[in-house]
């Protein structure tokens, strides 16, 4: 149990902050100097993975180590869904959090990683409450929305946050026998369903990811209940990354203050271009990955 407390404890420390995708030590330093609470080290941001295609895998350990050396904040890295050996390698490198991520090409189309076997904590994506609780049942210590990574479009993260929160509110109204039915329907363990019904929230921190490109996007997901914000392609695929990174940090903290949001949103240059979700074929939707 103390293990879980250490894993979710680090996520507690990241709350209210911004976790930024970076592809090299130089970007990691820009992120840290802009006030990021952590960085996600990866070889290609989701927008490039989407564009270039092919199999997306764990990043080169050399690059991850360079980023770990460059900054004093926690460093996360991604493993493919179900690829427990990539996770073992990331743990051996000493990364602070592993993201078992749908952004990479899945290595197993039935199973996720048994995350209880690791000392390093894991974050996993989810689109709804059932998916979140199944990941927690496997040992995830942090949940993030999947959104649609690399799209520059916030619509899917909003959909996932709304779904999760409305499903949690609904559980708090159900009777005991209905909770048993919910467990069956969602494939989530009954004890976790009961926990959520009692507390009205997830038993682990609940962050947002996927499509955050502007300070307003960050404040939107915060106001919809996300406890912190991951920004993938949104910063380093924009015209002028450093001021945009600072503005997103400022907006994430002051998400309830429209006057601050109006101030920090000014003059940031072009955001990343972005995609209409409806133009994506189902097989191009990264959020469909995960089971």
């Amino acid at each position: 149990m103390s293990e879980m407390r250490l894993k979710t404890g680090l996520a507690e420390m990241l709350k209210g902050g911004v976790i930024m995708d970076v592809v090299n030590a130089e970007q990691a330093k820009i992120a840290e100097q802009a006030g990021a609470v952590a960085v996600m080290a990866l070889e290609r941001v989701p927008a490039d993975i989407r564009k270039q295609g092919g199999v997306a895998r764990m990043s080169d350990p050399q690059m991850i180590l360079e980023i770990m050396d460059a900054v004093s904040i926690p460093v996360m890295a991604k493993a493919r869904i179900g690829h427990f050996v990539e996770a073992q390698i990331l743990e051996a490198l000493g990364v602070d959090y592993v993201d078992e991520s749908e952004v990479l090409t899945p290595a197993d189309e039935e199973h996720h990683i048994d995350k209880f076997k690791f000392k390093v904590p894991f974050v996993c994506g989810a689109r709804n409450l059932g998916e979140a609780l199944r990941r927690i049942a496997e040992g995830a210590a942090m949940i993030r929305t999947k959104g649609e990574a690399g799209s520059g479009n916030i619509v899917e993260a909003v959909r996932h946050l709304r779904a999760m929160h409305s499903q949690m509110r609904r559980l708090t109204l159900l009777g005991d026998e209905e909770l048993v039915h919910e467990a069956k329907e969602t494939g989530a363990p009954l004890e976790l369903i009961r926990w959520v019904a009692k507390h009205g929230k997830l038993p682990v921190p609940n962050f947002a990811a996927g499509g955050v490109s502007t300070p307003a996007d960050a404040a939107l997901v915060r106001q919809l209940g996300a406890e912190a914000v991951f920004v993938g392609s949104g910063i380093f695929k924009s015209e002028d990354p450093a001021p945009r990174a600072r503005a997103i940090v400022e907006a994430t903290t002051n998400y309830q203050d429209p006057a601050v949001l109006a101030k920090c949103s000014r003059g940031l240059g072009e955001p990343m271009k972005g995609l209409d979700i409806h133009q994506l074929a189902p097989e191009e939707r990264l959020q469909e990955r995960g089971w």
């Binding site: 407390r5 990241l14 709350k15 209210g16 006030g35 609470v37 940090v249 903290t253």
Partner: protein
Amino acid sequence: MVEKQRIGILALQGAVKPHVEKLVQLGVEVVEVLTPYTLASVDALIVPGGESSAFLHLIEMNGLWDPLLEFGREKPVWGICAGAILMASEVLHPAQRSLNLFDATVERNAYGRQLQSFVSALEPAPAWEEEGVEGVFIRAPRIKNVGPKVVPLLSYKGEMVMAREGKHLISTFHPELTESPAVHRYFLGLCGTT
């Protein structure tokens, strides 16, 4: 005419909610502080765990640097982990700016990364009169050198992990992540005596 204590918690980023829950249990009024205006309304302040480098940016962004210095000259401040780093007189690994509210040198991430995070029972110093405390250390800093007025309260393997100087408190572990309200109760005691 006893008024309820108003305890502020710096809510720029980090582990804010667990402190709020503890303080509400102990029956004080809790205010999340994001601006100089709300800071001016509280009797004491908790600077929670989080990322100290992010705190430095957010304090500047929200115009809180000078108000925090002024606040700390008069009223009690308790810094936890990143909060302790922020309050230190000197920061190592890497060197960074700090508020210099507490006469101590603090080294960041001094036990290592997340894989070196740990939980351990703590050893009480003679000045600690509360119940025993368990320490949750997450990428924790270490207190290296302290000034003559600093009183040790709790230790881990003989090294100070919580200390008091006047009305200020620093701890390198996270009492908000354990069941016991002992450390929060102790801080409220310090606030009451000022």
